[in-house]
């Protein structure tokens, strides 16, 4: 990653910012989702900008599906949705553009009711405070227009309306009972939220009422080690540079001898000149 390369060259600490820790130079991640309850299955296409051949095609993506992240080179992309089985050359039902930055992750989801279907690009967080987990809620239930989402009995999103995406919240690492409470239905589930993990909870209309899907977006060391790692004792290091002084002393002695000898040569030369009296 660019910041890691800079650290190597100019010896400054790599800035973490909000980017993930990928060292693959210029790689980001993108995943595709269908979160519109009354829209039939779609085919989803991901194009690299300017390219008419799709980089990724997902066929027959039904409501409630979130694809795994695909690693893609950083750059500009477009996402298109067509009815399932429609020709790749046909006019898409929806399309949107996405700029993927290196070390960043994105979710592109079909959201809203079928009559108002839109493609929403979400920036996915990939960092956590030490010892905590980060959670956000996507409310994709049409039947329960407003949902209260709780974690351990406490509301982390008091009023999630249909087709909304909440901001991320840091919660203590633990196994929590989560609830999505709507006027006509409640879903309850227990999930382990480990330190150093990022989650997106998706509230869906299931066959028997509300359902909660727990997506683990990213994970790392919940409590990273401090500093560098001591994994060497020097047995293969070769002899280091000893003191150069002995060699300098030798060179110095040689210089003294040479100068002394040279002076004597000059004196003899002068002597001869004086003797011959030129």
């Amino acid at each position: 990653m660019l910041s890691a390369a800079s650290a190597l060259l100019i010896g400054m600490p790599a800035a973490a910012a909000s980017a993930a820790s990928s060292a693959s130079a210029g790689t980001g991640w993108i995943r595709l989702a269908h979160l519109s309850p009354n829209t039939p299955a779609v085919d989803v296409y991901l194009y690299s900008f300017g390219n008419s051949d799709a980089k990724i095609v997902l066929h027959h993506v039904a409501y409630g599906t979130v694809s795994p992240y695909e690693a893609v080179p950083a750059g500009d992309y477009s996402v298109a949705m067509r009815s399932a089985g429609a020709a790749a050359s046909s006019q898409p039902v929806l399309s949107t553009s996405v700029t993927v930055k290196a070390g960043h992750a994105y979710t592109v989801a079909g959201m809203g009711p079928e009559s108002g279907l839109r493609l929403q690009v979400m920036n996915d967080q990939l960092t956590t405070p030490s010892g905590k987990s980060e959670v956000r809620v996507i409310q994709a239930s049409l039947k329960q227009q407003t949902v209260k989402f709780t974690c351990g009995g406490q509301a982390i999103v008091p009023k999630a309306t249909f087709a909304s995406v909440s901001s991320y919240q840091a919660i203590p690492a633990n196994t929590w009972t989560m609830q999505a409470i709507g006027a006509g239905s409640t879903a309850t589930a227990r999930f382990k939220m480990a330190a150093g993990t990022v989650h997106t909870m998706v509230v869906l209309d299931g066959a028997d009422g509300l359902e909660i899907v727990n997506l683990e977006d990213a994970a790392g060391a919940g409590q990273p080690p401090v500093g560098a790692v001591s994994t060497g004792f020097g047995g293969t290091a070769g002899h280091g540079p000893g003191s150069p002084l002995p060699w300098l002393a030798v060179i110095g002695a040689g210089a003294l001898i040479a100068v002394g000898g040279g002076l004597r040569l000059r004196r003899r030369g002068l002597g001869r000149q004086m003797n011959t009296g030129v």
């Binding site: 693959s24 993990t197 990273p224 080690p225 560098a228 290091a237 280091g240 040479a258």
Partner: protein, 202 residues
């Protein structure tokens, strides 16, 4: 005349000696040659799990065929003071249990020594790895996760990029850590860490 010539000889000899035994950069460790490549481990190679609920089995061994690395994996935690614990022996590598398991979502950390006081350690040849090289981690349930090297980096230890190495990633990644760079004979420590980054293949 003789003294002058002798003096020149001594100067030349001294300079040659100085140049031959001293380098403008501190002594770097040599890279070993010609270890035969190891076979790929047997057993099913599986893709990363699709669901967050799917639990990935614990790692038990690491094989890097191209550089002749084959080791069981011990477990490592944090030492007192919060630094990474390191294996007591230079001949085994260890998985940092504070990181995700290899093949689960996230950045999994494996640590090994480059050498001990007398000879090469398990990760001596790590710097030879290049983008595209294969790394295999066998797990307690008999499955194997295959990773492909994406990058090899060297960082000065006094500017270790903690977030870059240990922070969250959305995919199943592996980071192998060892020492490298110049060795400081006064403190008896290498001055850099070498990190090999790899991503699980599907």
């Amino acid at each position: 005349m003789i003294a002058f010539a002798a003096g020149l000889v001594v100067i030349v000899g001294g300079t040659a000696g100085l140049l031959l035994t001293h380098h403008s950069t501190p002594a770097l460790r040599p890279v070993a040659a010609g270890v035969a490549a190891l076979p790929v481990p047997t057993g099913p190679i599986v893709a990363p799990p699709q669901s967050a609920a799917a639990q990935v089995a614990r790692p038990v061994s690491l094989t890097i065929p191209l550089i002749g690395v084959k080791t069981n994996l011990i477990t490592l935690g944090l030492a007192a003071g919060g630094a990474m614990q390191v294996p007591a022996a230079s001949t085994v590598a260890g998985w940092f249990t504070g990181s995700p398991r290899p093949g689960a979502v996230g950045s999994s950390i494996i640590v090994g020594h480059v050498d001990n006081k007398h000879r090469a350690g398990i990760f001596f040849r790590l710097p030879e790895l290049k983008r595209g090289d294969d790394i295999y981690v066998k797990r307690a349930d008999g499955t194997t996760a295959e990773f492909r090297v994406t990058e090899v980096q060297e960082y000065p230890k006094d500017h270790f990029p903690t977030d870059t190495v240990y922070g969250p990633t959305p995919d199943a990644e592996l980071r192998l850590i060892t020492c490298g760079g110049a060795f400081d004979p006064v403190t008896h420590h290498y001055l850099s860490n070498i990190i090999v980054y790899a991503t699980q293949v599907r």
